[in-house]
């Protein structure tokens, strides 16, 4: 039971990180119709920025706080310089061009930050553990990740649903030409959305950094998960990304932890262990396939697509 709660918490935490990454991806894909493979690079750059700035300032909080505007700026530059001319192209061109961006960012990161990878030491305040219930300590830092992730999800929801900018984002998503004909500077709105997505991806990257290590290519595996999330959630839907990120995070963690035991009930332990290993890494793709059979446009299909 205790193990189960712990795994659920881990799943929630991964789900939130996935959501931060997927939110930007789904907005950019849904609104600008741009497939951006380089979204994972922004995740990586966020982690590197935080690592370097933490070293410079001597404080993880300060480093993280400064890394976000840096990532926002980077996102804006990438959008203006590289992506703006890709909106009118088809998806294959976009995939090729943004794959090129991945290579660029990986090489650049290696040149600038070195091949060895970096670690971000946690500040004292976040190193401890919190006793959730008797016999179940849980790392403070992971709680912080959950709290920050939830706060971001709520703010993003508020931005999209309640503010004028959010209305324009939704209006632009359903009818770009009409929004322009009513006076909305769509190009500037796109840049803003892209920058926002970049900052969220960077936030996910820098929050994951103290748990893993900061290294070249760290964005690629998680990007695939993020794509699974936005497909399950419905491309363009922030709410869908939120729900799907939790589903994927929970299924992945809980599956890996408990599948061997569950399978042991039916087949012998050695077979169960090897089968479980294969099956658990497939679980989320099975989920995606099932969702797509029942709801081809995802759980929360965004209008206008």
């Amino acid at each position: 039971m205790i193990l189960f709660i712990e795994q659920i918490l881990n799943g929630v935490q991964i789900g939130l990180l996935l959501f931060l990454l997927a939110a930007g991806l789904t907005l950019v894909f849904g609104i600008m119709d741009l497939v951006n493979l380089a979204h994972g690079s922004l995740y990586m750059m966020g982690a590197y920025f935080a690592a370097v700035l933490t070293k410079l300032t001597g404080s993880f909080f300060l480093g993280a706080l400064l890394a976000l505007p840096a990532a926002l700026l980077l996102g804006i530059v990438v959008e203006v310089v590289a992506l703006r001319s890709l909106y009118s192209r088809d998806h294959l061109d976009q995939v090729l061009a943004t794959f090129g961006l991945i290579l660029f960012f990986n090489e650049a990161a290696q040149l600038v930050f070195g091949v060895a990878g970096m670690t971000i030491p946690l500040p004292e305040a976040l190193q401890g553990q919190i006793q959730i219930m008797p016999g179940l300590p849980y790392p403070t830092y992971r709680f912080v990740v959950v709290a920050v992730g939830l706060a971001c999800a709520l703010s993003l929801y508020w931005l999209v649903v309640r503010t004028r900018v959010g209305m324009l984002i939704r209006a632009g998503a359903s009818n770009r030409e009409m929004a322009g004909a009513l006076g909305v500077n769509i190009a500037r709105l796109y840049t803003l959305v892209f920058g926002l997505g970049a900052a969220l991806a960077a936030l996910a990257g820098l929050m994951a950094a103290p748990i893993t290590t900061v290294r070249v290519g760290m964005g690629e595996n998680i990007l695939i998960l993020a794509f699974v999330v936005i497909v399950i959630g419905g491309i363009g839907s922030v709410r869908g990304a939120f729900v799907a990120a939790f589903l994927v995070g929970l299924l992945d963690t809980v599956g890996r932890a408990f599948l061997p035991d569950i399978l042991t009930l039916f087949i012998n332990p050695i077979q169960a262990a090897s089968l479980a290993q294969g099956l658990s890494s497939m679980l989320i793709y099975i989920l995606m396939a099932l969702v797509l059979v029942v709801r081809p446009a995802g759980l929360f299909p965004a209008p206008g697509r």
């Binding site: 324009l168 359903s174 004909a181 006076g183 500077n185 769509i186 206008g304």
Partner: protein
């Protein structure tokens, strides 16, 4: 206020407008008439910068707007009620009105627009996509008014609506005209148009073939028959 001079507009290689001309003065209601496919919507798209005219000049309020992006043209003061309404289906009625509003010294506010269309007042939190055709049309007009345009353009605003709703829309335009709003209208309903409008342009295959006042148009069955199929 608006002067369109000799514009040529293409969709890819096929030319649709051939030296199209048009002029609208302060407070005037002007119509663009012609059978389907003659280039009325294309003229509007060229004015709005949605399909750029390749040649000619479009001056609005004293400056050239032919090469401006459409959002700048809207900001300069042209409000579009497009063919097919094109309200935002995923925004509520309220949001459709306020999202793209441009407050200027002119007096269109959310309250006044809602007062002009009491039908919308009851449906403010409904999604645009849930409205009936007539309600969507009123929303599209209200949305354009919320930009406080110096010139309002309506492309087939009564198309496909029930007679009663049509009358409401004509009544609304009459009211706007009384407030000195300049309007460019495209419509099929000649009776209503000759009642409301000051001048008319009849176009055929992308160029103006006749223009004149309502009285002149009513007195000219040849034009009505030949170009408008009446």
């Amino acid at each position: 206020m608006l002067e369109v001079r000799g514009i040529d507009t293409f969709y890819d290689r096929s030319q649709v407008l051939f030296g199209m001309e048009l002029e609208i003065r302060e407070g005037e209601v002007v119509t663009l008439l012609g059978r389907n496919g003659m280039g009325k919507t294309t003229t509007i798209r060229s004015i709005m910068g949605l399909t750029r005219a390749a040649a000619g000049s479009i001056r609005f309020a004293g400056s050239e707007i032919r090469e401006l992006p459409s959002y700048r043209i809207a900001q300069a003061g042209i409000g579009l009620v497009p063919e097919g309404r094109q309200i935002f289906p995923n925004l509520s009625v309220r949001e459709n009105l306020v999202a793209t509003a441009i407050p200027r010294d002119r007096a269109w506010t959310f309250e006044r627009v809602v007062a002009l269309f009491p039908r919308l007042a009851e449906r403010l939190s409904n999604m645009g996509g849930q409205l009936s055709g007539g309600e969507q049309q009123m929303l599209a007009i209200g949305r354009a008014l919320m930009t406080n345009p110096r010139l309002l353009i309506l492309d087939e605003a009564t198309e496909g609506l029930a007679p009663l709703i049509r009358e409401e829309i004509w009544a609304c335009l009459t009211q706007l005209k009384a407030q000195n709003q300049a309007i460019l209208v495209i419509d099929k309903n000649l009776d209503a148009l000759t009642r409301i409008a000051d001048r008319h342009y009849v176009i055929e295959k992308g160029r103006v073939v006749w223009s004149g006042s309502s009285a002149q148009l009513l007195a000219n069955p040849t034009v009505q028959h030949r170009y408008l199929g009446v």
